[in-house]
């Protein structure tokens, strides 16, 4: 295993403990920032103590004990600001008990996830908050993925944690009645960390760099904590299907390869198998949802590895269901792409024309698909204009080159292609 991978593996292993410890402490102190600070101190203490005295039998219990002492110290100072010391002491005793009893303490990351995606939290901050509190990512890394300065992201995270504490957002798992509505923003926030999964549209934006692993990790966590929620399994299946094709999305020269031209040998079959299992688990509940349908579409694409062909009729049908359930721009553009294959480009173009022009103005997949369809219909000038627009909207260099190649090939078109 290369050093980088070993480091990554260690990071992933530490991640499981970090989130559990933060969740446990934050729930008792009702203060995420204080819990993180105390745990940070505990990790620093471990760096000096463990090499000297050896790694303790129960490392998590050790960290928990140090962290709660830090919290109690901080609590004494905070007591002058009106925070109740008796309540703190009770919490400390409880933590002590848990630490002494075993290295096993309750996993309360689910409550923490619901806090992070609480409707009272700014939507744009839910994903960064999860990445930091549940996974322990530092503000700099989160900032890089979200294309904002590290200091800005740091300030926003501080503000949002202050709101959690001072507005009294409860550390609780919503009851059955409220769970579906409250789970939706949790899943949305995880999917936002994954980035775009719409690689079936020619030249669609690449996923957000560096956070796909984290998103899948969170997806697996939620399915483990809520095994009976079909949409959680659906989301995991969707991300795994998209991730399975990562290597195949670029050829040896680094060029972008659209889904229908990808070499199926380069798809990661273990990930596809895990995705299919998750999708089967989801289907058992008999309650289809947006993520399950999106995953089913990706599953249909994955079938090409076995059948050698893509069943566009099924895909178009699944898109119809998806659009009925969640008529997002992405879904409607995806549906148009499927219609082009299952029926004909003119029908697909009509579907694109029906979309509101203000909404699609800066939506890259729309222009990439529109250009492709106009090319098929031999409307060369219009196609060329749409390609230019799609290229301008593409941040990814490989996608730009791919679209430029297709635009260049327009010159060879003389009559409408019929297939």
């Amino acid at each position: 295993m290369p050093a980088g991978d070993a480091h990554r593996a260690a990071e992933l292993a530490a991640r499981a403990s970090y989130g559990r410890l933060v969740a446990y402490l934050a729930r008792r102190w009702r203060d995420v920032a204080a819990a993180e600070d105390a745990l940070g101190d505990a990790f620093v203490a471990a760096l000096t103590a463990w090499p000297r005295d050896g790694v303790p039998d129960k490392p998590e219990a050790w960290l928990l004990a140090v962290a709660r002492r830090r919290l109690l110290d901080a609590g004494r100072h905070a007591a002058v600001q009106g925070r109740a010391l008796p309540a703190l002491r009770a919490a400390v005793d409880e933590a002590d008990g848990a630490a002494a009893a075993a290295s096993v303490f309750p996993d309360e990351r689910l409550a923490l996830l619901f806090v992070c995606a609480h409707p009272a939290i700014d939507e744009g901050m839910r994903t960064p908050l999860m990445l930091q509190t549940v996974l322990g990512l530092d503000a700099g890394r989160i900032a890089a993925a979200f294309l904002v300065p590290a200091a800005t992201m740091g300030q926003r995270l501080v503000r949002v944690k202050t709101k959690i504490r001072d507005a009294g957002i409860p550390f609780a798992v919503p009851d059955r009645r409220e769970l579906p509505a409250r789970l939706e923003p949790v899943l949305d926030a995880i999917y936002a960390a994954y980035g775009s999964g719409w690689d079936d549209v020619a030249g669609a934006e690449a996923r957000r760099e560096g956070l796909a692993d984290e998103a899948i990790w969170l997806g697996r966590l939620v399915t483990r904590l809520l095994p009976d929620e079909p949409e959680a399994s659906g989301l995991l299946a969707l991300m795994l299907h998209c991730e399975a094709r990562r290597a195949a999305r670029r050829d040896a020269a680094g060029r972008y390869v659209p889904l229908d031209s990808q070499d199926v040998e380069r798809w990661a079959s273990p990930m596809i198998e895990e995705a299919e299992r998750a999708l089967r688990d989801a289907a058992r509940a008999g309650a289809p949802g947006r993520f399950q349908l999106e995953a089913a579409i990706q599953s249909a694409h994955a079938q090409r590895a076995h059948s050698g062909r893509t069943d566009w009729d099924s895909i178009a049908l699944l898109y119809e269901g998806l659009v009925r359930l969640a008529p997002t721009l992405g879904a409607r553009v995806g549906q148009a792409a499927a219609l082009a294959e299952a029926r004909d480009p003119a029908e697909a173009l009509a579907a694109l024309d029906a979309l509101p022009s203000a909404a699609v103005a800066s939506y890259q997949p729309y222009w990439a698909l529109r250009a492709h369809l106009l090319g098929l219909l031999a409307r060369v000038d219009e196609a060329s204009g749409a390609y230019t627009r799609a290229i301008d909207l593409s941040a990814d260099e490989a996608a730009r080159a791919f679209l430029a190649d297709k635009a260049g090939a327009l010159r060879n078109i003389s009559s409408p292609r019929v297939d």
């Binding site: 009106g82 957002i169 409860p170």
Partner: protein
């Protein structure tokens, strides 16, 4: 925790207070809401406010007092009253806020009180 439920009402709602055909329903809804808060033992204070035109806004600038007729901000919904409640957490406060009559027509803001 102590929260204040700020009740922002539409102009139509303010009008209902004195409209002979609507006043019954308007006051009835608020009476029922207030009684529910009291019965649950969560209400610690509050007041209904006269309509925005009766407001007067004061600013102290450079040692001079500027007085202006009307409410502070000219928005579609205006503060019509407030309730102070004491509940365990934000979710409970939001549940109560959602039952306020203005939630269905205007808007209701929940703010934690500063502890002093």
């Amino acid at each position: 925790m102590k929260y204040t439920i700020l009740v922002y009402e539409t102009e139509a709602a303010f009008g209902s207070r004195t409209d002979d055909r609507k006043r019954e329903a308007y006051w009835g809804a608020y009476r029922a809401y207030t009684q529910a808060l009291q019965a649950a033992g969560v209400m610690i204070g509050g007041a209904g406010l006269q309509p925005p035109p009766l407001g007067t806004t004061v600013r102290q600038r450079d040692g001079k007092r500027q007085v202006q007729d009307g409410p502070y901000a000219a928005t579609k919904e205006q503060l019509g009253g407030f309730y102070e409640i004491d509940v365990p957490d934000l979710d409970t406060a939001l549940d109560w806020a959602g039952r306020c009559p203005a939630a269905a027509t205007g808007a209701v803001e929940v703010r934690p009180n500063l502890s002093m």
